[in-house]
Subunit: 89 residues, 2 copies
């Protein structure tokens, strides 16, 4: 069994209005940063996973995304797995 670091990025689907992002965009413009637009705010989740190999780790994290972490109707998710050297980092 090895240790992996899973990095999950969860974003609202582009068809869905991101109210929090719009608010941040207005705040950036109010702070004299007019060059920024189309702000979208999502979640970034890091998880340590104990699994025999990277594919199994990715499957487990995708199951967690579907069951708990993401709302598959409104959100997209992507998972990146990297192996952690030695013991738990």
């Amino acid at each position: 069994m090895k240790h992996y670091l899973a990095q999950v990025t969860i974003t609202l689907r582009t068809s869905i209005l991101d109210v929090q992002g719009k608010t941040v965009e207005h705040a950036l413009h109010a702070l004299h940063m007019p060059s920024m637009s189309n702000v979208r705010i999502g979640k970034h989740i890091q998880i340590n996973v104990h699994a025999p190999d990277a594919e199994t780790a990715k499957e487990q994290v995708e199951t967690a995304c579907m069951k708990l972490l993401a709302n598959p109707i409104m959100e997209d998710y992507s998972v990146t797995i990297t192996e952690l050297a030695g013991a738990m980092a």
Copy 2:
């Protein structure tokens, strides 16, 4: 002037207890996923930036992180810039 996509990842510093992450970790264990541990939850922000070059775009986004997006006392941030082909994507 070119269009860039900035991807900002904001994470709580490791010395700070992540209560939301702990709660998600307990929920994962309750869903029979005991192989996952050390869950940390942060933010992932996408911003379109209009700038003459990638360095300027990165500087602008880092300024936005310091002034508005992140809390530099409790959070770390990283910025990745990619050029968008053609007009606004």
